[in-house]
């Protein structure tokens, strides 16, 4: 055909190019997949009208923000559409040719039709472009080759032109269609890659393991258009953790297959050598550190006889599985780190607890035991005052021990979340009174003043817990404020909140300790003081107050020295009406 096409007319130009393509591809047309051609046609492809490529934003409206890959992009038109389009292109070519028929030669009009064929091939693929070729040949022959309005051809040269046209059109259709297919594949590939990237990025942002597994199962299912399951090991057994669709579950045989895949680190089930009589395929997920779980796949067809995955899908699955495995392992590592951190904190706390217990239990015991043995051995040598002093020591130290043990018990209840506030409508003044009564001995060497507004509203509190909070705060004030100073309790309503302030005349709380005074076993260090706290009282206050939905804060006085502890509780919405006027 080569000499025939090198004719003098316009078709020769096209034939020339076609020849070059044919030469480069003569070995094997199927292998004509040069990157350059994909690139060039791909750009053109991007501008192609007609195909709906939804913007990213509208596709990513899923709950977890993960965007499934579009399975078959741009193939959702009615089958007749490409042919109609091709026909329209040929019609357009006809119109152009008809308009220019007096300006250009008859062979050049073939070139116009060839353009339509090329456009059809690029837009719609092989068969529509062959259809366009046929339509072009007929139109060219009928309307342009003399005698016009007839399919007959008078001039033999025109016969050659027409045959050349047919050959070139078919070759162009073939090549352009192939290039188009490659462009589509490349774009699909690019989109898959982008989806994988987005998937990996989304996984990195998920902290909760279950959510991570759900998102992964969903992504695998949507990208492969299959049903997906994720299984993770738990106590030596592989357990179903996530599925898409969510109600999928496994039977015994499938679990056995999954377990086998997990233990042997090899695929099991459908399409493998370890079938187990199940229709699902199970693939182990692993990272460089070893296996982390199993992914299960099933097709949507009821019979389950078709091959589960194409080679491409298999590669995609591998990529997804790698991402999922990395995400799961990352989660594991984060968990390990967190557990380590908690363990270290617990260790520190345990050390503090032991130090506190050994000190705070032994110190009063030493006083009691020492005084008791002194009295036992040397009672007759002591005068009455000395005996009274030793007896008072025994009593005071025993009471101190009792308070410490009570605090330990309260702390244990808080730690075990065993504190259930028994909330009642209470009178704050009543609580202040009973707390002061209980703390009378502790406060014996301080001046206490109480200033409560007369018309304080009733509050919703647990009276027992709240009395303990007040007692601990008074005890704390008595420990840190020098003997003889004033401890002030004041309460008042401010809007919807009642505030109770306990102010002492000590040296106040060092700024660096303000945030930590409520921490367990944190004691404000005071080198010149003999009696320091146990590091429990304020932690209990905070725990109890918060259990009753109140707040407690620590600060220092604005004027003068001393610490201020402020407890705030909301005023209940409704105050109890009285059955009889109280006044």
């Amino acid at each position: 055909m080569r000499p025939a096409i090198t004719a003098k007319n316009g078709a020769s130009l096209i034939a020339d190019r076609a020849e070059k393509v044919v030469e480069t591809t003569s070995g094997n047309l199927l292998e004509c997949t040069t990157v350059r051609s994909v690139y060039i046609v791909g750009r053109k492809d991007d501008f192609r009208p007609g195909e709906k490529r939804a913007p990213r934003g509208t596709r990513a409206q899923d709950a977890d923000g993960l965007e499934p890959a579009a399975g078959k992009a741009g193939q959702r038109y009615h089958p007749i559409f490409p042919y109609a389009g091709s026909l329209a292109m040929v019609a357009a070519a006809f119109a152009v040719g008809f308009a220019l028929r007096h300006l250009i030669g008859i062979s050049d009009i073939a070139l116009v039709f060839l353009t339509a064929v090329l456009a059809s091939a690029v837009s719609y693929g092989l068969w529509p472009s062959l259809f366009a070729s046929l339509a072009s040949v007929l139109a060219y022959d009928f309307f342009f080759l003399p005698p016009i309005y007839s399919l007959l051809i008078a001039d033999p040269e025109n016969v050659v032109t027409l045959i050349t046209f047919v050959i070139v059109a078919v070759i162009v259709s073939n090549l352009a269609a192939r290039v188009r297919a490659q462009a589509l594949a490349a774009r699909q590939h690019a989109r898959t890659t982008e989806d994988l990237y987005l998937f990996a990025r989304a996984l990195a942002g998920i902290a909760d393991l279950d959510e991570l597994l759900r998102a992964t199962a969903r992504q695998i299912a949507l990208m492969l258009d299959r049903r997906a399951l994720l299984l993770l090991p738990q106590d030596d057994w592989i357990v179903l953790r996530a599925a898409y669709p969510q109600d999928d579950c496994l039977d015994e045989a499938e679990l056995a297959a999954a377990q086998w895949a997990w233990l042997s680190d090899r695929p099991a089930g459908r399409g493998t050598d370890a079938v187990f009589g199940v229709r699902r395929l199970f693939l182990p997920l692993h990272t460089g550190r070893g296996p982390v779980g199993v992914v299960g796949l099933d097709s949507n067809d009821p019979a389950g006889t078709e091959p589960l995955l194409t080679a491409d899908q298999h590669r995609l699955l591998q990529a997804l599985a790698d991402q999922a495995a990395l995400a799961i392992e990352r989660h594991r590592l984060a968990q390990d780190v967190e557990e380590g951190r908690v363990a270290a904190a617990n260790e520190q706390l345990r050390a503090a607890l032991l130090a506190s217990i050994s000190h705070d239990l032994r110190t009063p015991l030493a006083g009691i035991l020492g005084s008791a043995t002194s009295l036992k051995n040397f009672r007759r040598m002591f005068d009455d005052a000395t005996q009274d002093e030793l007896i008072a020591t025994i009593q005071e130290e025993a009471e101190r021990l009792n308070r410490f043990i009570a605090n330990l018990l309260d702390m244990t209840r808080l730690e075990a979340r065993a504190v259930r506030p028994h909330v009642e409508i209470v009178d704050l003044g009543d609580l202040v009174g009973s707390a002061l009564d209980r703390a009378r001995k502790v406060l014996a060497r301080h001046h206490v003043s109480v200033e409560c507004d007369k018309d304080l509203p009733m509050l919703q509190l647990d009276p027992v817990l709240f009395e303990q909070v007040l007692f601990n705060l008074l005890d704390n004030a008595a420990k840190y404020a020098p003997v003889g100073t004033q401890i002030r309790l004041s309460a008042g309503r401010q809007g919807d909140v009642v505030r109770l302030l306990i102010t002492d005349g000590g040296s106040g709380i060092p700024p660096e300790d303000l945030k930590r005074v409520f921490d367990k076993f944190h004691r404000v260090h005071a080198a010149d003081r003999r009696r320091v706290g146990t590091g429990l009282g304020l932690a209990i206050c905070k725990g109890f107050v918060e259990a009753m939905d109140g707040t407690i804060t620590a600060g220092n006085r604005d004027e003068g020295q001393g610490a201020v502890f402020t407890i705030a509780f909301p005023v209940p919405a409704t105050q109890t009406p009285l059955p009889e006027a109280a006044a």
Partner: protein, 232 residues
């Protein structure tokens, strides 16, 4: 209360020998006769034999729950005073023991003077229930239940009928803890609510206490009830 000769025998019920020893020596020194028991069945047996004895009862016994012992004694019609030894942070148990018929409680650990006060108060009400002293004095407060007169530092106070009823119930059981339920039943006939009680206690305190926030007559036992201080 007449001394020594009229003192009843106290039955010390506790499974801890150290507690029994300390109670035995102290109570004996105060002139009480003392018996001991370390199980619930022994206690019931002893009290059926000697129904006049006063048990000081630990609630945590190895064989029978202390609450069951109180219930059984009261359903059998026993009228002796019962003082319960309770542990801290068990307000529900304390209230339950009082509602079942215990006269008072004391929380371990305790000082002997507190226990003696509880026993005295319980004995006073059990042994002379109908013969209330006509005049009650506590600090600056004077209450004459016979003539319905209340005076603070010699000045007569005006109380509302409900306030007076509340004060009367508290004074009639002075020295003894009264549960919210008991007071509500005595004053409101059982259909009152606990917040009414708190509001009336507050208004009563504002009238009879020199410093209502630091009361010296009507003491609050948080989570349990109120106690009028024993008369001077």
């Amino acid at each position: 209360m007449t001394p020594t000769a009229a003192l009843p025998k106290v039955l010390i019920v506790d499974d801890e020998p150290a507690i029994r020893r300390f109670l035995r020596t102290s109570l004996t020194a105060q002139g009480y006769l003392v018996a001991e028991a370390d199980t619930g069945s022994e206690t019931l047996e002893h009290l059926r034999r000697s129904p006049a004895d006063v048990p000081v009862l630990d609630l945590g016994l190895p064989d029978i729950d202390g609450l069951d012992i109180i219930e059984r004694l009261r359903t059998e019609g026993a009228r002796m005073p019962i003082v319960v030894l309770s542990i801290r942070a068990d307000e529900v148990g304390k209230v339950r023991a009082l509602d079942l018929g215990a006269d008072d409680y004391i929380t371990k650990p305790f000082g002997i003077d507190e226990l003696l006060a509880r026993i005295r108060a319980a004995l006073r009400h059990r042994l002379q229930p109908e013969d209330e002293p006509p005049l009650f004095r506590c600090g600056d407060l004077m209450v004459d239940l016979g003539r319905r007169i209340v005076k603070l530092r010699g000045v007569e106070l005006k109380l509302t009928p409900l306030e007076y009823d509340l004060l009367r119930v508290l004074v009639a059981h002075a020295g003894k803890v009264l549960t919210h339920r008991f007071i509500l039943h005595e004053v409101w006939g059982g259909d009152g609510e606990i917040q009414y009680l708190r509001i009336y206690i507050r208004s009563l305190r504002q009238k009879i206490e020199p410093h209502p926030e630091q009361p010296c007559c009507i003491m609050t036992e948080q989570g349990v009830g109120y106690r009028m201080r024993a008369p001077d």
